[in-house]
Symmetry: C2
Subunit: 136 residues, 2 copies
Amino acid sequence: MQTEEEILKIKKVKNTAVRMVVLRHLLSLEKAQSLKDIENALPYTDRSSIFRTLKTFEENKVIHSIEDGSGMTKYAVCAEGCNCDPKDLHYHFYCTNCDKTFCLFDVPIPNIQLPKNFKLQQANMVVKGLCDNCNR
Amino acid sequence: MQTEEEILKIKKVKNTAVRMVVLRHLLSLEKAQSLKDIENALPYTDRSSIFRTLKTFEENKVIHSIEDGSGMTKYAVCAEGCNCDPKDLHYHFYCTNCDKTFCLFDVPIPNIQLPKNFKLQQANMVVKGLCDNCNR
DNA sequence: GCATTTACCGCAACTCGATTGCAAAGATTA
DNA sequence: TAATCTTTGCAATCGAGTTGCGGTAAATGC
Ligand SMILES: [Mn+2]
Ligand SMILES: [Mn+2]
Ligand SMILES: [Zn+2]
Ligand SMILES: [Zn+2]
């Protein structure tokens, strides 16, 4: 497991107080976080600073964003070695009961046979249902 | 191919002027439409009426919605016999160049092996890239 | 070290897609 | 017909996301 400093260094993002605290927060939880989630968790940090931090992180592939259909974009730390290429694609699971969104790094994504002449660049694959905790 | 009247009858949605014109518009195009798209195409119909019509259609499985990451929810008419169950799932393709979103009814969705105790209910699978028209 | 330039931060304002309250118009039922 | 329920149009509101700007901090050049 890499430290916040190591991650930022590898991804060539300057280390600042806001960036450290945002990245630490994202690393501390197993589920993807929305801007609002982070804002609530970091009451002394300004929303727009968090927003710009997330943009910077995403541009530099520190994190990736997920559109889970909940109305708020969620963010999760990229796996070590991730370049946000199609090969780094993974499913996301959105629990319709507890509203958590998970990265399913371990579920393989099969090859998608697109129609003739369509070119794959990226994907946003969100599977919805009940998580193990809510499915009882 | 079913007519608008037939579709609404089968799905038990009362036939009104606004509903007819919205459904006709959705049927007339091969790509999924946003509320704004429909509003622009139907300048004499009020936005909130279109909005409520789309909600009614979605609840009654006349149409399904797609979150393609463009910031606007898109809507497309369900295929004949669709119940919006997991078995009716299909990929959507979002062209990053021309901003069109297509239902890929013909591309099979493989079985997704979720982690233990996770239950699949729905999915929003958006593949992004260049459509055949833009990929030259 | 000190001046200059660049990057980052906090605050407030704003954008825009989505949603809602409400009253009028239309359809249905008794 | 009268009462009731549904649909529609208009205007207002909500809220996530985004931006302008001035101040502070860090980096760069001398
Ligand atoms: Mn992920
Ligand atoms: Mn579709
Ligand atoms: Zn859950
Ligand atoms: Zn295209």
